[in-house]
Symmetry: C2
Subunit: 135 residues, 2 copies
DNA sequence: TATAGAACCTGTAGTAACTATAGGTTCAAG
DNA sequence: CTTGAACCTATAGTTACTACAGGTTCTATA
Protein backbone atom coordinates (compact mmCIF):
# COMPACT_ATOMS: atom_id res chain seq x y z
CA UNK A 1 0.00 0.00 0.00
CA UNK A 2 0.87 3.64 -0.59
CA UNK A 3 1.74 6.44 1.83
CA UNK A 4 -1.10 8.89 1.71
CA UNK A 5 -0.38 12.07 -0.21
CA UNK A 6 -2.32 15.23 -0.88
CA UNK A 7 -2.60 17.91 -3.49
CA UNK A 8 -2.31 21.50 -2.32
CA UNK A 9 -6.06 21.92 -2.52
CA UNK A 10 -6.70 18.88 -0.32
CA UNK A 11 -4.13 20.12 2.17
CA UNK A 12 -5.67 23.56 2.28
CA UNK A 13 -9.17 22.16 2.77
CA UNK A 14 -8.01 20.08 5.73
CA UNK A 15 -6.56 23.16 7.38
CA UNK A 16 -9.47 25.38 6.46
CA UNK A 17 -7.57 27.77 4.27
CA UNK A 18 -7.00 28.48 0.58
CA UNK A 19 -4.33 27.16 -1.74
CA UNK A 20 -3.03 30.69 -2.12
CA UNK A 21 -2.44 30.80 1.60
CA UNK A 22 -0.31 27.68 1.40
CA UNK A 23 1.68 29.24 -1.43
CA UNK A 24 2.10 32.27 0.77
CA UNK A 25 3.32 30.21 3.74
CA UNK A 26 5.81 28.49 1.45
CA UNK A 27 7.15 31.81 0.19
CA UNK A 28 7.31 33.02 3.79
CA UNK A 29 9.34 29.99 4.81
CA UNK A 30 6.75 28.49 7.16
CA UNK A 31 5.94 25.54 4.92
CA UNK A 32 8.73 23.61 3.17
CA UNK A 33 8.94 23.18 -0.57
CA UNK A 34 7.41 19.76 -1.08
CA UNK A 35 8.25 17.24 -3.81
CA UNK A 36 6.54 17.74 -7.15
CA UNK A 37 4.78 15.57 -9.66
CA UNK A 38 6.16 15.18 -13.20
CA UNK A 39 4.01 18.09 -14.27
CA UNK A 40 5.14 20.28 -11.39
CA UNK A 41 2.22 19.95 -8.99
CA UNK A 42 3.06 19.96 -5.28
CA UNK A 43 2.74 16.62 -3.49
CA UNK A 44 2.21 16.74 0.26
CA UNK A 45 2.42 14.08 2.96
CA UNK A 46 0.87 13.72 6.41
CA UNK A 47 3.59 15.72 8.14
CA UNK A 48 2.84 18.66 5.89
CA UNK A 49 -0.81 18.45 6.87
CA UNK A 50 0.15 18.48 10.55
CA UNK A 51 2.41 21.45 10.05
CA UNK A 52 -0.17 23.46 8.19
CA UNK A 53 -2.84 22.74 10.81
CA UNK A 54 -0.37 23.80 13.48
CA UNK A 55 0.16 27.11 11.71
CA UNK A 56 -3.55 27.66 11.32
CA UNK A 57 -4.34 26.85 14.96
CA UNK A 58 -1.66 29.28 16.04
CA UNK A 59 -3.17 31.93 13.77
CA UNK A 60 -6.56 31.37 15.36
CA UNK A 61 -4.89 31.96 18.72
CA UNK A 62 -3.64 35.28 17.42
CA UNK A 63 0.02 34.40 17.00
CA UNK A 64 1.76 36.41 14.31
CA UNK A 65 3.59 34.60 11.53
CA UNK A 66 6.80 35.70 13.18
CA UNK A 67 5.82 34.09 16.46
CA UNK A 68 4.81 30.97 14.58
CA UNK A 69 8.17 30.94 12.85
CA UNK A 70 9.72 30.88 16.31
CA UNK A 71 7.46 28.08 17.52
CA UNK A 72 8.21 26.05 14.39
CA UNK A 73 11.93 26.47 14.92
CA UNK A 74 11.43 24.93 18.35
CA UNK A 75 9.82 21.95 16.67
CA UNK A 76 12.36 21.73 13.87
CA UNK A 77 15.42 21.99 16.10
CA UNK A 78 15.08 19.57 18.99
CA UNK A 79 17.63 21.30 21.21
CA UNK A 80 15.01 23.61 22.64
CA UNK A 81 13.19 23.35 25.91
CA UNK A 82 9.60 23.49 26.90
CA UNK A 83 10.32 26.66 28.83
CA UNK A 84 11.04 28.57 25.65
CA UNK A 85 7.72 27.57 24.20
CA UNK A 86 5.98 28.54 27.41
CA UNK A 87 7.64 31.95 27.19
CA UNK A 88 6.17 32.63 23.77
CA UNK A 89 2.74 31.49 24.90
CA UNK A 90 2.84 33.64 28.04
CA UNK A 91 3.92 36.67 26.01
CA UNK A 92 1.02 36.08 23.68
CA UNK A 93 -1.40 35.69 26.58
CA UNK A 94 -0.26 39.01 28.02
CA UNK A 95 -0.63 40.72 24.70
CA UNK A 96 -4.14 39.38 24.34
CA UNK A 97 -5.05 40.55 27.84
CA UNK A 98 -3.80 44.01 26.94
CA UNK A 99 -6.00 44.07 23.86
CA UNK A 100 -8.98 42.95 25.92
CA UNK A 101 -8.41 45.76 28.40
CA UNK A 102 -8.15 48.33 25.62
CA UNK A 103 -11.31 47.11 23.98
CA UNK A 104 -13.27 47.15 27.23
CA UNK A 105 -12.30 50.78 27.77
CA UNK A 106 -13.19 51.55 24.21
CA UNK A 107 -16.59 49.93 24.50
CA UNK A 108 -17.34 51.85 27.67
CA UNK A 109 -16.59 55.09 25.90
CA UNK A 110 -18.84 54.16 23.00
CA UNK A 111 -21.69 53.04 25.23
CA UNK A 112 -21.53 56.19 27.31
CA UNK A 113 -21.93 58.22 24.15
CA UNK A 114 -24.71 56.05 22.83
CA UNK A 115 -26.64 56.28 26.08
CA UNK A 116 -26.48 60.06 26.07
CA UNK A 117 -28.16 60.12 22.69
CA UNK A 118 -31.90 59.95 23.22
CA UNK A 119 -33.78 60.64 20.08
CA UNK A 120 -33.80 59.54 16.49
CA UNK A 121 -34.77 62.86 14.98
CA UNK A 122 -32.58 65.30 16.76
CA UNK A 123 -30.60 67.38 14.31
CA UNK A 124 -26.90 66.69 14.11
CA UNK A 125 -25.77 69.88 15.76
CA UNK A 126 -27.31 68.72 19.01
CA UNK A 127 -26.05 65.15 18.78
CA UNK A 128 -24.10 64.33 21.93
CA UNK A 129 -22.01 61.74 20.11
CA UNK A 130 -20.78 64.14 17.47
CA UNK A 131 -20.41 66.70 20.21
CA UNK A 132 -18.24 64.43 22.29
CA UNK A 133 -15.99 63.68 19.38
CA UNK A 134 -15.96 66.93 17.46
CA UNK A 135 -16.15 69.72 20.00
CA UNK B 1 -5.46 90.58 14.61
CA UNK B 2 -5.00 87.49 12.57
CA UNK B 3 -7.00 84.30 12.41
CA UNK B 4 -4.79 81.55 13.78
CA UNK B 5 -3.33 79.21 11.21
CA UNK B 6 -1.16 76.12 11.36
CA UNK B 7 1.39 74.31 9.31
CA UNK B 8 0.82 70.64 8.66
CA UNK B 9 3.36 69.74 11.32
CA UNK B 10 1.65 71.84 13.97
CA UNK B 11 -1.71 70.34 13.01
CA UNK B 12 -0.36 66.83 13.23
CA UNK B 13 1.25 67.46 16.62
CA UNK B 14 -2.06 68.72 18.00
CA UNK B 15 -3.79 65.55 16.91
CA UNK B 16 -0.96 63.28 17.93
CA UNK B 17 -0.12 61.96 14.51
CA UNK B 18 2.47 62.49 11.79
CA UNK B 19 2.43 64.80 8.83
CA UNK B 20 2.40 61.81 6.55
CA UNK B 21 -0.83 60.67 8.16
CA UNK B 22 -2.43 64.02 7.35
CA UNK B 23 -1.26 63.68 3.76
CA UNK B 24 -2.79 60.24 3.74
CA UNK B 25 -6.12 61.51 5.10
CA UNK B 26 -6.14 64.19 2.44
CA UNK B 27 -5.55 61.65 -0.32
CA UNK B 28 -8.27 59.47 1.21
CA UNK B 29 -10.75 62.34 1.14
CA UNK B 30 -11.15 62.67 4.91
CA UNK B 31 -9.32 65.98 5.15
CA UNK B 32 -9.98 68.74 2.61
CA UNK B 33 -7.27 70.26 0.48
CA UNK B 34 -6.42 73.41 2.41
CA UNK B 35 -5.20 76.71 0.97
CA UNK B 36 -1.48 76.95 0.25
CA UNK B 37 1.25 79.45 0.84
CA UNK B 38 3.07 81.05 -2.11
CA UNK B 39 5.62 78.31 -1.94
CA UNK B 40 3.02 75.56 -1.83
CA UNK B 41 2.91 74.73 1.87
CA UNK B 42 -0.46 73.78 3.32
CA UNK B 43 -2.10 76.36 5.59
CA UNK B 44 -4.64 75.06 8.06
CA UNK B 45 -7.22 76.82 10.24
CA UNK B 46 -8.96 75.89 13.48
CA UNK B 47 -11.72 73.93 11.76
CA UNK B 48 -9.09 71.70 10.19
CA UNK B 49 -7.61 71.03 13.61
CA UNK B 50 -11.06 70.10 14.94
CA UNK B 51 -11.66 67.79 12.02
CA UNK B 52 -8.34 66.04 12.35
CA UNK B 53 -8.82 65.55 16.08
CA UNK B 54 -12.25 64.11 15.38
CA UNK B 55 -10.76 61.61 12.96
CA UNK B 56 -8.06 60.63 15.43
CA UNK B 57 -10.50 60.20 18.33
CA UNK B 58 -12.66 58.01 16.16
CA UNK B 59 -9.62 55.94 15.20
CA UNK B 60 -8.80 55.48 18.87
CA UNK B 61 -12.32 54.19 19.32
CA UNK B 62 -11.67 51.64 16.62
CA UNK B 63 -13.75 53.16 13.84
CA UNK B 64 -12.47 52.34 10.37
CA UNK B 65 -11.72 55.15 7.94
CA UNK B 66 -14.85 54.12 6.08
CA UNK B 67 -16.97 54.52 9.19
CA UNK B 68 -15.33 57.86 9.85
CA UNK B 69 -16.09 58.94 6.30
CA UNK B 70 -19.74 58.21 7.08
CA UNK B 71 -19.64 60.14 10.35
CA UNK B 72 -17.98 63.08 8.62
CA UNK B 73 -20.65 63.10 5.94
CA UNK B 74 -23.20 63.46 8.74
CA UNK B 75 -21.30 66.51 9.93
CA UNK B 76 -20.76 67.93 6.47
CA UNK B 77 -24.35 67.52 5.31
CA UNK B 78 -26.70 68.92 7.93
CA UNK B 79 -29.77 67.02 6.70
CA UNK B 80 -28.93 64.00 8.83
CA UNK B 81 -30.35 63.01 12.18
CA UNK B 82 -28.85 62.04 15.45
CA UNK B 83 -30.35 58.59 15.02
CA UNK B 84 -28.08 57.82 12.10
CA UNK B 85 -25.04 58.68 14.14
CA UNK B 86 -26.30 56.57 17.00
CA UNK B 87 -26.69 53.67 14.58
CA UNK B 88 -23.05 53.80 13.54
CA UNK B 89 -21.93 54.02 17.16
CA UNK B 90 -24.11 51.09 18.22
CA UNK B 91 -22.81 48.97 15.35
CA UNK B 92 -19.28 49.78 16.41
CA UNK B 93 -20.05 48.94 20.03
CA UNK B 94 -21.42 45.53 18.99
CA UNK B 95 -18.38 44.85 16.86
CA UNK B 96 -16.09 45.70 19.74
CA UNK B 97 -18.03 43.42 22.09
CA UNK B 98 -17.64 40.61 19.58
CA UNK B 99 -13.89 41.15 19.47
CA UNK B 100 -13.75 41.15 23.27
CA UNK B 101 -15.59 37.84 23.41
CA UNK B 102 -13.25 36.31 20.84
CA UNK B 103 -10.17 37.48 22.69
CA UNK B 104 -11.42 36.18 26.03
CA UNK B 105 -11.94 32.74 24.52
CA UNK B 106 -8.51 32.94 22.93
CA UNK B 107 -6.85 33.90 26.18
CA UNK B 108 -8.51 31.04 28.01
CA UNK B 109 -7.16 28.62 25.45
CA UNK B 110 -3.67 30.06 25.79
CA UNK B 111 -3.74 30.02 29.59
CA UNK B 112 -4.97 26.45 29.71
CA UNK B 113 -1.98 25.43 27.62
CA UNK B 114 0.43 27.51 29.64
CA UNK B 115 -0.82 26.02 32.91
CA UNK B 116 -0.34 22.50 31.67
CA UNK B 117 3.33 23.22 31.04
CA UNK B 118 5.20 22.70 34.27
CA UNK B 119 8.91 22.74 33.76
CA UNK B 120 11.47 24.82 32.05
CA UNK B 121 13.75 22.03 30.99
CA UNK B 122 11.43 19.48 29.56
CA UNK B 123 12.39 18.54 26.04
CA UNK B 124 10.15 19.79 23.28
CA UNK B 125 8.67 16.45 22.38
CA UNK B 126 6.96 16.31 25.77
CA UNK B 127 5.79 19.94 25.73
CA UNK B 128 2.02 20.02 26.24
CA UNK B 129 1.70 23.28 24.37
CA UNK B 130 3.35 22.00 21.23
CA UNK B 131 1.41 18.81 21.73
CA UNK B 132 -1.91 20.60 21.91
CA UNK B 133 -1.19 22.50 18.74
CA UNK B 134 0.78 20.04 16.69
CA UNK B 135 -0.62 16.60 17.45
C1' DT C 1 -8.51 7.21 -26.12
C1' DA C 2 -10.04 11.76 -26.63
C1' DT C 3 -11.57 15.67 -24.34
C1' DA C 4 -13.72 18.80 -21.12
C1' DG C 5 -13.14 21.19 -17.17
C1' DA C 6 -11.47 21.22 -12.49
C1' DA C 7 -7.42 22.01 -10.25
C1' DC C 8 -3.01 23.31 -10.49
C1' DC C 9 1.17 26.54 -11.85
C1' DT C 10 3.74 31.40 -11.57
C1' DG C 11 3.68 36.11 -10.98
C1' DT C 12 1.72 40.44 -9.94
C1' DA C 13 -1.46 43.67 -7.84
C1' DG C 14 -4.79 44.84 -4.36
C1' DT C 15 -6.54 45.23 0.68
C1' DA C 16 -6.22 48.73 5.50
C1' DA C 17 -4.01 52.30 7.53
C1' DC C 18 -0.46 53.94 7.75
C1' DT C 19 5.14 54.48 7.84
C1' DA C 20 9.41 55.22 5.64
C1' DT C 21 12.35 56.79 2.20
C1' DA C 22 14.25 59.63 -1.64
C1' DG C 23 15.19 63.69 -3.74
C1' DG C 24 14.05 68.15 -3.93
C1' DT C 25 12.00 73.06 -2.29
C1' DT C 26 10.54 76.59 1.08
C1' DC C 27 10.45 78.81 5.33
C1' DA C 28 12.18 81.09 9.58
C1' DA C 29 15.77 82.23 12.73
C1' DG C 30 20.21 84.12 13.56
C1' DC D 1 22.15 85.79 3.68
C1' DT D 2 22.81 81.44 5.07
C1' DT D 3 21.65 77.23 7.38
C1' DG D 4 18.90 73.69 8.69
C1' DA D 5 14.27 72.41 10.05
C1' DA D 6 10.15 71.70 7.98
C1' DC D 7 7.78 71.19 4.05
C1' DC D 8 6.71 69.21 -0.91
C1' DT D 9 5.59 64.91 -4.16
C1' DA D 10 5.89 60.27 -5.28
C1' DT D 11 6.89 55.61 -4.45
C1' DA D 12 7.74 51.44 -1.80
C1' DG D 13 7.27 48.79 2.41
C1' DT D 14 4.50 46.78 6.36
C1' DT D 15 0.99 42.23 7.73
C1' DA D 16 -1.36 38.34 6.26
C1' DC D 17 -3.45 37.28 3.07
C1' DT D 18 -6.83 37.50 -1.38
C1' DA D 19 -7.66 38.08 -6.17
C1' DC D 20 -6.65 38.11 -10.44
C1' DA D 21 -4.36 36.82 -15.30
C1' DG D 22 -2.77 33.75 -18.42
C1' DG D 23 -1.19 29.42 -18.94
C1' DT D 24 -0.46 24.06 -17.90
C1' DT D 25 -1.69 19.50 -15.89
C1' DC D 26 -4.55 16.16 -14.07
C1' DT D 27 -8.67 13.24 -13.90
C1' DA D 28 -13.15 11.56 -14.88
C1' DT D 29 -16.34 10.54 -18.25
C1' DA D 30 -17.97 9.47 -23.15
Amino acid sequence: MQISTFSIGQLARQANCKTETVHYYEKSGLMPEPPRSEGGHRIYALEHAKRLKFIRRCRELGFSLDQIRTLLSFIDEPNHSCGEVKGVAIAQSREVQGKIDDLIRLKQALDTMVNQCKGTNYPIDKCPIIDALYA
